[in-house]
C-alpha cells in the first residue's frame, strides 16, 4: 500500500515553488509576478506544516506558528506591493515590469 510520507508533501511543495519561479520568470504584468510570489510563500508554508506533522516532537506546533507568521507577512506584502503598483500605474500608466525601468522622471 502506498503510504503518504513527508517526501510526498515536500515534492508537492517543490512543484508549487517551481511554478512560482516560472511565473516570476515569464510574466510581464507585475500583478501576475505578485501571484508567483504568493505561490512561493505557499510552498514554504506547506513545507513548515509538513515538517511539523512528520518530524517535530509530539505535541509541538512550532511549524504551524511559523506558517501563521508567513501568512501574516504575505498579507502585508501583498497590500504594500499593490499600493506600490497603484502608484506606478498612476505615474507611468502601465504595470509592465519590463517598462518600469526609470527611478525618477
Amino acid at each position: 500500500m502506498l503510504e503518504v510520507s513527508l517526501q510526498h508533501y515536500l515534492l508537492v511543495a517543490a512543484l508549487l515553488f517551481a511554478a512560482g519561479v516560472g511565473v516570476i520568470i515569464s510574466r510581464r504584468n507585475a500583478i501576475a509576478v505578485l501571484c508567483g510570489v504568493e505561490l512561493i510563500l505557499n510552498a514554504a508554508a506547506l513545507n513548515f506544516v509538513a515538517f511539523n506533522r512528520y518530524a517535530a516532537p509530539a505535541g509541538r506546533l512550532d511549524g504551524q506558528v511559523f506558517t501563521i507568521f508567513i501568512i501574516i507577512l504575505a498579507a502585508a506584502e501583498a497590500a504594500i506591493a499593490l499600493a506600490i503598483l497603484l502608484n506606478l500605474f498612476q505615474q507611468t500608466n502601465t504595470v509592465d515590469v519590463d517598462e518600469a525601468d526609470t527611478m525618477k522622471e
Partner: protein
C-alpha cells in the same frame, strides 16, 4: 487493493494544488491568472487540513482567498484597461515556455535533494485533535514577542498602504 482514504485525499488535493499552479504560468490573461491562483490556494488549504492543521487551513481560506486574492483582483481592476483581453505574456524572451523550463530545472534540483536526503520521520505522530487552543497558548507564551511585533508591523503596513495608494490631487488647493 487497500488504498486508504487519506492517500486518495492527498493525491486529489495535491492535483488541485499543483495543476492550477502551473496554469498560473500558462494562463492567457491576468484575470485567469488570479482565478487559477485561487484554485491552487484552495488545494494548499486542503493539504493543511489533511496534515492536521485545521486552524491553518481555515486561516488560509480566510486570509489568502478572502483577503489577498480579493486585493489582487482589485489591483487588476484598477491597473489594466481591458483585463480580459490583455495579453499577460508576450512571445519571445518572456514566454510561458521559458517559465516552464526554468520551473522544471528548479524542481529537478529540489526533487533530487528531497529524494536524496531521506528525512527521519517519527511514526504515529498524533494528529486530528483541534490545534486552535494549543496554537493560542503557544502564541501567547513562547512566541509572544514575534506575535506583538507582527501586530505592530500590520498596523504600519495598513497606514503605509493607505498612504501610498491614496489618490493624489495635482490641483490641490494648498
Amino acid at each position: 487493493m487497500d488504498i486508504d482514504f487519506g492517500t486518495i485525499m492527498f493525491f486529489a488535493l495535491a492535483i488541485v494544488a499543483v495543476v492550477p499552479a502551473f496554469m498560473v504560468v500558462l494562463a492567457r490573461d491576468i484575470v485567469r491568472v488570479a482565478f487559477w491562483l485561487l484554485a491552487s490556494l484552495c488545494g494548499v488549504a486542503g493539504l493543511y487540513i489533511l496534515l492536521g492543521a485545521d486552524f491553518l487551513g481555515l486561516t488560509q481560506v480566510l486570509v489568502y482567498i478572502g483577503g489577498i486574492l480579493v486585493l489582487i483582483l482589485f489591483g487588476i481592476m484598477m491597473t489594466s484597461k481591458d483585463p480580459l483581453h490583455e495579453k499577460a505574456t508576450a512571445s519571445g524572451k518572456r514566454s510561458p515556455v521559458t517559465g516552464l523550463v526554468t520551473g522544471a530545472l528548479v524542481f529537478a534540483v529540489l526533487a533530487a535533494v528531497i529524494v536524496g536526503v531521506g528525512f527521519e520521520e517519527n511514526k504515529g505522530v498524533s494528529g486530528g485533535e483541534p490545534t486552535t487552543t494549543k496554537l493560542g497558548e503557544v502564541l501567547l507564551t513562547d512566541y509572544v514577542l514575534p506575535f506583538e511585533l507582527v501586530s505592530v508591523l500590520l498596523l504600519f503596513v495598513l497606514c503605509g498602504a493607505a498612504y501610498m495608494a491614496r489618490r493624489r490631487r495635482e490641483d490641490a488647493h494648498a
